[in-house]
């Protein structure tokens, strides 16, 4: 069975803290993605990676960075968390084949105080 896991379901952090969100997939997918989900805005792509050590900015990369040292693991880093980064963060993975869907993790609800 397809599986994408995220390190935490809920996180509470203070403004200025460094935050790490981890995502692991067991499907040997090349592509991995980080989205944030906010009410009325759908999902917006923060960063994605199409191979180990490769990354590309999505639509809203400001304030975030990513790391992909191993194929199965993709980390999202908030260097200095701010209150406007309070959101639901969803990780997804997908293969290279045309039309292959993305598989999503359970999400991390982050609250920055």
């Amino acid at each position: 069975d397809v599986k994408v896991t995220q390190s935490s379901r809920y996180l509470v952090k203070r403004t200025g803290e460094k935050v790490f969100l981890e995502c692991v997939q067991d499907m040997d997918h090349e592509n991995m993605f980080w989205y944030r989900q906010d009410p009325g805005l759908g999902l917006r792509l923060i960063y994605f990676s199409y191979d180990v050590k490769m990354k590309e900015k999505g639509d809203i990369p400001e304030g975030y960075s990513v790391s992909r040292e191993k194929k199965e693991r993709f980390s999202l880093i908030l260097e200095s968390a701010s209150t406007n980064q309070t959101s639901m963060y969803l990780c997804a993975s997908g293969g290279h084949r045309v039309g292959e869907t993305q598989y999503f993790g359970p999400g991390t609800r982050l609250l920055v105080l």
Binding site: N31, G40, L45, V98, T101, Q102, G107
Partner: protein
Amino acid sequence: ELKVEQNPLFLSMQEGKNYTIYCNYSTTSDRLYWYRQDPGKSLESLFVLLSNGAVKQEGRLMASLDTKARLSTLHITAAVHDLSATYFCAVDKGNKLVFGAGTILRVKS
């Protein structure tokens, strides 16, 4: 820039009724995806539509794609309470997806 618009954003319907959710997008694409999200849960893939005229059906849901009109529809037939969820369409933009805002569907008994 690719924009994806869904409507309606909120839909309250009675059990047994039919309705359609629309997904319009602004630039050419041949690939469109529908996902379902239950409250507090992650997204689950429903349909992958890969060409003009593609139609997929699963139970009471049917999705279609008209690439010329840049329109996909998700048709609900004889709604049941279990279909209550948020439905997202997403358009392929070169191995990345651009999502609509989502349609919250509530089916009332």
